[in-house]
């Protein structure tokens, strides 16, 4: 049974329609004109309990607006949202007990208070028992090294510390549905790794997760399902494995030849493959359709006829697929 369900979810904002510059501003004062901007356009989404879903899309695609609609921050212009059977906007208080939210670009810590005080305020707000609070803080400390900065004021934390503290805040009440909007933005590699490991544990424990991120490593390491959104509408919804199997139809071999590579001549000689010049004159990339040729066949013919000095195989990543989806090269 779905824990989250949205139908025809739409959000339209009204924006001033004015020319740029001072003249445009003055004209707009006298003649106020607005135009509607649809940030989210008829999203149908269903997430089952325990699923980990990546919600990705280019900047301005409507990811954050969707999260705000699903968490009850915004009222939909059209359509419905139900989280555990409730409307998250009109039943805000009841919904709040079941959800955890993290916006990577903002903190929910009380700016002038120590981290520990923020967590205690949230403990009281959510009615978490002393025993549960102690147990969860110990677990967060184990995975996120919380105690290192518990007495520090929020405004004195580094970005990595702030994000770890915010994650603890989002999960202190053990929510069933967790929304993480760009949780690794601006973090260094080691903090990212630590956060991803923590999120994997969270998913393994059965928490339902909706994650938005521009870092596709977050998605591959944490999520099983991916929803790609573009211009407010869903461009793809399915498993990451299916996305790869369906869309990754080409593979590539990088060849390092003895002398300079004559790309047009090679393309004429091997018309079934696509040839691209590499960074060095002797480097060339051969792209082939993986459903027509096996890697062994391709390597056999290339090494027999070209005797390359060295070669390497490159597997197209999920990143390439997403990039092509964003660019509109692929369809659902």
């Amino acid at each position: 049974m779905p824990i989250l369900e949205s139908q025809s979810l739409t959000k339209t904002f009204r924006r001033p329609d004015k020319a740029s510059g001072f003249k445009g501003a003055v004209k707009h004062l006298a003649q106020r004109k607005y135009k509607n901007y649809t940030a989210v356009d008829g999203i149908d989404l269903s997430i089952d309990a325990g699923e980990s879903v990546a919600y990705v899309g280019p900047n301005g695609a409507g990811k954050s607006t969707t999260v705000k609609l699903l968490t009850g921050i915004l009222r939909p212009s059209e359509g419905t949202v139900r989280v555990m059977g409730r409307d998250p906007h009109t039943e805000r208080i009841a919904n709040a007990h079941d959800i955890g939210v993290l916006f990577g670009q903002r903190t929910q810590l009380w700016w002038d208070l120590p981290v520990e005080e923020s967590l205690k305020l949230l403990k009281h707000m959510y009615g978490v028992s002393d025993a549960d609070y102690k147990r969860r803080i110990e677990r967060f400390d184990e995975l996120l090294d919380l105690n290192e900065f518990m007495p520090a004021l929020a405004r004195t934390l580094s970005l990595g510390q702030r994000m770890r503290a915010d994650l603890a805040c989002a999960l202190i009440h053990d929510p069933k549905m967790v929304y993480l909007d760009e949780p690794t933005i601006g973090l260094d590699i080691s903090v990212k790794d630590r956060l991803r490991a923590f999120l994997r544990e969270l998913v393994n424990d059965g928490t339902t997760l909706l994650l938005t991120s521009h870092d596709l490593a977050d998605i591959e390491e944490v999520c099983e399902r991916i929803v790609v959104i573009d211009k407010g509408a869903i461009a793809y919804d399915g498993s990451i494995e299916r996305l790869k199997a369906h869309y990754i139809t080409t593979k590539a071999v990088n060849l390092y030849l003895e002398g300079a590579a004559d790309v047009p001549a090679l393309a004429e000689k091997f018309p079934d493959y696509e040839w691209t010049a590499g960074e060095a004159p002797s480097e060339v990339t051969v792209t082939y359709e993986s459903n027509r040729f096996t890697t062994a066949e391709v390597l056999g013919s290339l090494t027999a006829q070209l005797s390359p000095r060295d070669l390497s195989l490159s597997e197209p990543s999920i990143e390439d697929v997403i990039r092509r989806l964003y660019a509109g090269e692929l369809t659902k």
């Binding site: 959000k11 904002f13 208080i93 002038d112």
Partner: protein, 273 residues
Amino acid sequence: MADALSIKRSVPVRHASGIYWRALAAHIRSVIEYPADLWIMASAGAVWNVLQFAFLAVLFANIPNIEGWGFHEMLMLSGLLSVAGGANALCFDGAWNTGSMVIKGDIDYRITRPAPVILQVGSSHIGLQSFGELALGFAMLVYGWIGAGVGMAWIPVGALAIVSAALIQTALVTALCAVNFWIKSPMSIFAFLLIQLQGGAMKLPLGVFPAAVRIVSLFIVPVAFINVVPVAVLTGHMNAWWLVGTPVAAVAAVALAAGVYRLGLRAYDSAGH
């Protein structure tokens, strides 16, 4: 339609007030850890009141009364207004940040928590100057009270007046700050205007103003019930029945603030679409 953003229908009052007081207490603990900041700001609040005291002392050294009000009665007016302003700055200073929170989308997290947003915002900051304002304001009130010969029997009325004054002041400021849900400005210009008008007009007896100003300050924007009406009753310038209006105005102002804030939250569209 049930509005889940209301306090009454969604969160038990006891739980909501518990959250509010804990947030406030946490901020006070935090402030005490930085005594230099506290003393500097508290001194600023105190100096402002000392200047008011000095101004009134000089004024009444040259004139006997204003519309029948003497030095000690006028001191009570200024003292009660300072106590109301100090209580607002101590207990609900965060409301002043409503505009910047709306612009930056900082209301978002508060909507996702199981507590009234208005209380979360109000308790998110305390004005350090409040300690000086409250101490000196209270001192002026007591000094004026004794000097005007009000008497100990009126202390319960004085206590009611102080609580009502703090509530009306806080509620009016909060309601005017909530206007920023619509006008999208970080500055709470209307609340600032209210404070400026109070600082100028509400330190004088109502009798010096034309009828229109009296009607507005009593029945439209009930700022007169913060200090002028209670002091006028305590010092015998108005009939005691007017005192009933003070808690009524407090309840009305609180209802207004909660209502405007609730409507503001419905209009809230966060930041970064």
